[in-house]
């Protein structure tokens, strides 16, 4: 028999999505238990069915999904139990559970809250609905909740709108809302994925403390193994709607049984150190003149009171064959810096000296149209979003061949050959050339983006968060591909990322950006292991490590500029 501590007991849950091409078994016989005061982390890559499992519990699966079979016993503190799977999804019984006994927070704190209602209105609604509070009582309780989630000036924040808050603050509002009725179970669906690492650390910390205070069970869905190691008591590994392995966090990380779990942990641990290809490679010639030398680059947006110094006096250089990593949180100016390098933006000031193959030096800031056009063939870009950066109405061959065509380098049969060759280089089957981007998976789409970037034999590639949208298991593959191409084609990379693991795996040197300024540059090992600047220290300490024996959220530094 189950102990009295179990809050929710899910058995053989099956959720299907009937589609035109057949039934998608999003959740296929999943069983687990969540105990009071404990955290169960559900991990898996995109499409593993972890989110649908969570939504099935509250019966809020998007149409046309529906629960086919299984039971979900909710054990109440008074000893009674109810099977949530048998309740009518629109009936009053399940509605009384939602938000009151089981609360949920979502990934996107911006879109998960209504933009036209005040924060207070949306929290008070739960209180008035479930606890039948009066307006005044609900308001007082809401202010108290906002105080609990550490929102400054709660009595004024209550009347403000979501767009007046930052991402982290919005997620705090979501948490306050979910805690309103003291639920016995909190379901958190990737609540920190859209946030910066330092903000993520604070939110995780907050959830942990609130869990201890209220003694609730937490079901935490994530794809980030670092987060799992940091907060989980138990782990459920999902793949294609099935549970691959379940167990205490220490066992999952240090003695995984299942092959998929081993692969998942392996690919995470791989990103914890430098790539083998890089360790074996001969050191880069330090005396070689740099491909690009950026001096005092300044990029301002707006004017007067609205002046934003997106890039503020940045100086960097990239040597031939080298990968320079640029790391920073959102708003640090790293993407703007990359776009200035392509001269997508016209920099406000400074110099960007680009050394061409023949040895002549061009200042990209001042270059005229003709010069710029020539240089842009040699400086290419890889984008973050492999979906948005490929035209859905062009075939793969057209996408990859486009730079060759518009620069009048190849056409006809020669173009076809070049495209087939490029596809082979990035590990795509040339036979797929007539397919459209939607027919490819995320990893394959990013390969298409890479093939397009190397089509013109460039010398420098700016990769802006090139692997952030990919699952962990694909990430190291993509980085290995990029490094192979680098060695073969003699490329230099400027690799922009917020993910220090990816940076450490692949980059030779790192520049850390904070509020438009470079606060620290140096060799990868030196910056990662012995950082000098206080901000770098704070940033590194906020990154959860994928080892439950080395939890360190507690010893985090905070950086206050």
């Amino acid at each position: 028999m189950t102990g009295s501590n179990v809050v929710l007991e899910v058995k053989d849950l099956v959720t299907h999505f009937p589609t035109r091409t057949g039934v998608v078994k999003a959740v296929d016989g999943v069983s687990f238990k969540i105990e009071r005061g404990k955290t169960l982390c559900v991990v898996g890559e995109s499409g593993s069915g972890k989110s649908v499992t969570a939504r099935s519990i509250l019966q809020i699966v998007d149409t046309p999904g529906r629960i086919v079979s299984g039971s979900m016993m909710l054990h109440r503190p008074n000893g009674s139990s109810v099977d949530l799977a048998t309740l009518n999804p629109r009936g009053p019984e399940i509605r009384a559970v939602r938000g009151a006994e089981i609360a949920m927070i979502f990934q996107e704190p911006m879109s998960s809250l209504s933009p036209v209602h005040t924060v207070g209105d949306q929290i008070m609604e739960v209180l008035r609905l479930h606890l039948k509070m009066s307006k005044a009582d609900a308001r007082a309780r809401t202010i108290e909740l906002l105080k609990q989630v550490e929102i400054p000036n709660p009595d004024r924040a209550i009347d403000r709108y979501t767009f007046e808050f930052s991402g982290g603050m919005r997620q705090r509002v979501m948490i306050a809302m979910s805690l309103a009725c003291n639920p016995s179970l909190l379901i958190a669906d990737e609540p920190t994925t859209a946030l910066d690492v330092t903000t993520q650390a604070e939110i995780l910390d907050l959830i942990k403390r609130l869990q201890q205070r209220h003694g609730m069970g937490v079901m935490f869905i994530t794809h980030d193994m670092g987060v799992v190691a940091e907060i989980a008591d138990d782990v459920l590994v999902m793949y294609h709607g099935k549970v691959m392995e379940e167990g205490p966090v220490d066992r999952i990380f240090h003695a995984p049984q299942d092959a998929y779990t081993k692969m998942l942990i392996g690919s995470v641990l791989k990103l914890e150190r430098k790539a083998d290809i890089r360790l074996k490679r001969a050191p880069i010639d330090e005396k070689a003149p740099p491909v690009v030398e950026i001096k005092n680059l300044v990029m301002h947006f707006g004017s007067g009171n609205n002046l934003v110094k997106a890039v503020d006096d940045v100086s960097l250089s990239v040597r031939p064959g080298e990968t320079l990593g640029i790391v920073g949180e959102s708003g640090s100016g790293k993407t703007t810096m990359g776009r200035c390098l392509m001269r997508v933006y016209q920099p406000t000031g400074g110099q960007m000296s680009y050394r061409r193959a023949d040895g002549s030096v061009v200042d990209l800031v001042a270059a005229d149209k003709h010069k710029l056009r020539e240089c842009r063939r040699e400086i290419r870009m890889i984008f973050q979003d492999p979906v948005g950066s490929l035209n859905p109405r062009m075939t793969v061959a057209q996408i990859i061949g486009e730079p060759l065509l518009v620069n009048e380098i190849a056409k006809g049969a020669e173009l076809d050959d070049r495209v087939a060759d490029l596809m082979r280089q990035v590990g795509l089957e040339p036979a797929w050339r007539e397919r459209y981007p939607h027919a490819f998976s995320g990893g394959q789409r990013q390969r298409i983006g890479i093939a397009r970037a190397i089509a013109l034999n460039p010398r420098l590639i700016v990769a802006d968060e090139a692997t952030s949208a990919l699952d962990v298991s694909l990430r190291s593959q993509m980085l290995d591909l990029m490094m192979n191409l680098q060695d073969k084609l003699g490329l230099s990379y400027v690799f922009i990322s917020h993910d220090i693991g990816v940076i450490r795996y692949m980059c030779d040197r790192i520049a850390v950006m904070y509020r438009g300024k470079v606060v620290e540059t140096g060799e990868t090992e030196q910056v990662c292991d012995a950082p000098n600047h206080a901000y770098t220290k704070a940033l590194l300490s906020a990154i959860p490590r994928p080892d439950p024996r080395a939890r360190r959220m507690g010893q985090r530094h905070r950086y206050v500029a």
């Binding site: 509250l58 009053p92 939602r98 209504s114 609604e125 479930h130 767009f163």
Partner: protein, 328 residues
């Protein structure tokens, strides 16, 4: 907010000034003037007007002066004395002619608007929530039908039905008895009794397009993450629909107020003529055809002023309803 309002008001002054001038020029552009039209009408009934008489008339109406002088007299008359000039054709001050018609037009338009919204919004919401259900298909069928039927045709059919089948008096907004009578309780009842046919006709096409717009707006909102959040809070389906997606789907309608007001004057002219309604539209058309320039000018000025006021009102309302919009 206050600064925004003041600047907007100040901008309206030069806009109106320019518009009034343009309107005046436009009315003068067609060859000839009211006297030419007048002589042509007389000639049609075999009366001959000689050149001297025509010149006399022109002088009396001030049509012999240069355009800029005429404009100056007209605009100063409006600004200083609220005098919109004299209608040549009706031989009455323009202001007397316009206001009663405007009041009736207002009654008609707002009844139509209420009917349209009362039908279209619920049907549109239903259609979106139960997408691809039988009810949605029926609503879609009828809204396309409503869009496709020309309103003057519908007017003719309804008039036929009302007059022949149900023996109701049709055309106009009043019975003969009340036509010229002063306002009384009886006249109001009579007005309501006549109002339903034009309201139905005018509402049909408006309702049809509004259903489609509301359905599309709702479909955009229904899949938003905040709807799922609201559901996860335990709200009932109806309450969460009304509070979140419907509220957001209504926003685009507020901006339609901007063109609703000018439509008071210029909208639905054909239906008004077919039903011989004493509204503003037919009078505007007639004044343009007769080159009755002060009457036409007053109407066009009114349309423009209403457009400006309408967009100001919808901007203010949008800012009140949607906190994301800041007026600065």
């Amino acid at each position: 907010m206050l600064r925004f309002l003041v600047t907007r008001f100040l901008w309206m002054v030069p806009s109106l000034f320019v518009i009034s001038f343009l309107a005046f020029v436009l009315i003068q552009l067609p060859p000839g003037d009211y006297v030419t039209t007048y002589i042509a009408t007389l000639a049609a009934s075999n009366e001959i007007v000689d050149q001297n008489q025509a010149a006399d008339l022109r002088q009396r109406f001030g049509l012999d002066q240069p355009m800029i002088v005429q404009y100056w007299k007209w605009i100063t008359g409006i600004l200083l004395r609220g005098d919109f000039g004299l209608s040549f054709e009706w031989q009455q001050p323009v202001s007397e002619l316009i206001w009663e018609r405007m009041a009736l037009t207002l009654v008609l338009t707002f009844s139509t608007l209420l009917a349209t919204w009362a039908i279209a919004l619920p049907v549109g919401i239903y259609s979106a929530v139960r997408k691809y259900s039988i009810g949605d298909y029926i609503a879609t069928f009828f809204s396309f039908l409503g869009l496709a039927i020309p309103s003057f045709l519908l007017a003719l059919v309804l008039m036929y039905l009302a007059a022949v089948e149900w023996g109701q008096e049709v055309g106009g907004l009043f019975s003969e008895k009340y036509q010229t009578a002063p306002w009384s309780w009886g006249k109001v009842v009579d007005l309501l009794w006549h109002l339903w046919i034009p309201v139905i006709i005018l509402a049909v096409s408006g309702t049809a397009s509004l259903i489609r717009v509301m359905r599309a707006n709702m479909l955009d909102e229904l899949n938003r993450a905040y709807v799922t959040t609201a559901r996860a809070k335990g709200l009932s389906e109806f309450r969460l629909l009304m509070k979140y997606p419907v509220r957001l789907a209504l926003n685009p309608f507020i901006s339609t107020i901007a063109w609703l007001l000018p439509n008071l004057v210029s909208g639905s002219i054909i239906v008004a003529i077919v039903l011989s309604l004493p509204t503003a539209g037919p009078l505007l058309l007639q004044s343009l055809m007769a080159q009755d320039m002060y009457l036409a000018g007053a109407f066009i000025l009114l349309i423009c002023a209403l457009t400006l006021i309408g967009s100001l009102i919808s901007d203010i309302l949008l800012a009140i309803v949607d906190p994301r919009i800041r007026l600065e």
